[in-house]
């Protein structure tokens, strides 16, 4: 009659026999989500920890050095007690500007080529190469800037210093190019084909389609990619530490040696800085300045891509 009853067991019976174990399951079912939540909270705690660290040590710093002196002062020589952060900010901006000049045209052009012109085959070859470029450690880029780019630039501009903003800026630009290229390409790729076909059917050339249809449609994604890349350039540390120097000059001359916010943090943390000294606290004041810059850029990028999310 019942085929299963021909056997010497019944599965349902065996399952009920194991019921005692069910209590254990119930405990697991309650504990596991708690554990997972705890882990999720760690990322929140990390942010809180970053804010706490930066704020606490900066507040200590600003009780010694006034906010006005820090942000309006034009001389940065902490070892002789001069804490005017302005030269570090201009140094950072100079590097970021040079990097953007390099990365913006190359990155956008690569994105346009990959998204609109390249065959599937060449895309399959080129994209991984760009990924490699993005995965190279920054210390390697720094080495490249100092030992290769600087000597070449020096043969063109003999007045160029060994440590200079130009070389470091160019290499930071190379570093952030893949970011702009791949994020912008994603944005252009997600423009639906019917928009392309519509414009093509009207007799537009590929270039016209790209400029008049694709770029406007993907603009928010493209801008977001640029903002993110700029934020990366602002926070880049090793390339500038190795190749741009450690002389906080208030200058926009790319031939000069400068110091960025990040490079000072490295210098301040590795020199014979003692815990609790003004210099020790100053690296946090510099850190919070950097953090505010990059955080604002990231929020801006998120805002753009949310606000102008394309509705096709």
């Amino acid at each position: 009659m019942n085929t299963h009853q021909e056997h010497k067991y019944s599965v349902q019976e065996m399952i009920s026999d194991k019921k005692s174990k069910k209590n254990l399951f119930n405990v697991t079912e309650k504990i596991v989500p708690l554990f997972l939540l705890l882990c999720a909270v760690i990322s929140v705690l990390t942010t809180a920890g970053i804010l706490f660290t930066l704020l606490r040590e900066s507040i200590t710093f600003f009780s010694e050095v006034s906010l006005a002196e820090f942000y309006l002062g034009t001389q940065w020589s902490p070892w002789s007690g001069k804490f005017g952060v302005f030269p570090l900010i201009t140094g950072t901006l100079l590097i970021t500007a040079i990097a953007t000049c390099v990365a913006l045209p190359i990155g956008i052009a690569s994105a346009i080529y990959l998204s609109e012109y390249a065959s599937n085959r060449s895309r399959k070859i080129i994209k991984p190469i760009l990924e490699i470029l993005a995965g190279i450690p920054t210390v390697v880029y720094g080495f490249f800037a100092l030992t290769f780019v600087t000597p070449i630039l020096q043969s063109v501009f003999p007045e160029l210093k060994i440590f200079n903003a130009l070389s470091a800026g160019i290499v930071v630009g190379i570093m952030i190019t893949p970011m702009i290229a791949s994020l912008s390409e994603d944005a252009m790729n997600s423009v639906p084909n019917r928009l392309r076909e519509g414009a093509m059917a009207l007799g537009s050339t590929k270039l016209e389609v790209t400029i008049k249809v694709i770029i406007p449609a993907a603009l928010s994604g493209i801008i977001a990619s640029i903002v993110l890349a700029v934020s990366r350039a602002l926070g880049e540390t090793m390339i500038v530490t190795i190749a741009a120097g450690a002389t906080p000059n208030l200058t926009f001359d790319p031939m000069q040696s400068i110091q960025t916010l990040t490079a000072f943090i490295v210098q301040g943390a590795t020199g014979d800085t003692s815990y609790g000294s003004n210099i020790y606290f100053s690296i946090y004041a510099v850190g919070i300045t950097l953090f505010v810059f990059t955080f604002a850029m990231n929020l801006f990028a998120q805002y753009i891509s949310r606000k102008f999310r394309e509705d096709y």
Partner: protein
């Protein structure tokens, strides 16, 4: 008609402008690789891999760096993958769609954009001073774990989201509990994606220098770490140290170190891509 011609010529011209601009990036990569190989290959030998740091270029080696990076990985991988995958599981499988969940999600995104050196400052305050670990292996490993955590969370979330809902339902319908379903069905199905993301994140950690400098990885290390509270170094720290010495010979040593680092990164990336391709066409 001449207008049409102009448009077509313009189109062709710009195609080559785009190709030219892109090849600049590719040329930069080739030159970089070529330079490093030509500088470093001559100094790359077994002794270089076996020797400790030394004040003389021909005696200097990467052994302490390799072992330091290896020990760091052995700590970072379990810490960051456990926390990262758990966070992803919480967000994807358990969290209600409310403000708190969105807050955690936004927070992870923002954390991914924080410059690595700021993580160094976090590690310096908390792990080095507040927890009194000092300039030790564990302080470095914890700092780096937090640094790559957002990358692992995001990659794992994508992998978990990729698991079709139908097989979750099939498991629940058999009387499996939620956790049984996650542990036996969702996680195994998401593992390839999680692994790929984690390996890529770890390869970022292995090349990171700035936070390690801040939390006190030292350059002159003549032993291998034997406990969590040992002093330590790492490959990029050695390379940075050699790069910043003025004598030209050190550049060749740095070049040799970079080759080793890049080979290891290439290996890790190949494994990640291999896993991705092998399991990609599952559903």
């Amino acid at each position: 008609m001449s207008r049409m011609r102009r448009r077509i010529i313009l189109n062709q011209t710009f195609k080559y402008v785009f190709i030219f601009a892109m090849s600049l990036a590719l040329i930069a990569l080739s030159v970089l690789i070529y330079r490093i190989l030509s500088q470093g290959l001559g100094h790359l030998n077994i002794d270089f891999l076996r020797q400790y740091p030394a004040p003389y270029p021909d005696k200097a080696g990467l052994f302490a760096g390799i072992m330091g990076s290896l020990y760091l990985m052995l700590l970072i991988a379990p810490i960051s993958i456990t926390i990262g995958v758990s966070t992803a599981l919480y967000l994807e499988e358990y969290a209600a769609k409310n403000k708190f969940t969105r807050f955690i999600q936004t927070n992870v995104q923002n954390l991914a954009g924080v410059p690595s050196i700021v993580f160094g400052l976090l590690g310096l305050t908390f792990f080095v001073y507040l927890f009194s670990f000092g300039y030790t292996l564990i302080a470095g490993a914890l700092t780096m774990s937090l640094l790559i955590l957002p990358v692992i969370v995001v990659a794992s979330q994508e992998a978990i989201r990729f698991v079709p809902n139908e097989i979750r339902q099939a498991s629940i319908a058999m009387g499996a509990t939620k956790w049984q379903t996650i542990w036996r069905i969702v996680l195994p199905a998401a593992i390839p994606g999680i692994l790929t993301g984690s390996i890529l994140a770890l390869s970022r950690a292995i090349g990171e220098t700035a936070p390690l400098i801040i939390v006190g990885a030292a350059a002159a290390i003549y032993t291998i770490p034997d406990s969590l509270t040992s002093k330590y170094t790492a490959m990029p720290i050695q390379i940075y140290n050699w790069t910043s010495r003025p004598q030209e010979e050190w550049q060749y040593i740095a070049g040799a170190g970079i080759i080793v680092l890049l080979v290891i990164l290439l290996l890790m990336n190949s494994i990640a891509i291999w896993i991705r391709n092998k399991f990609q066409s599952r559903y």
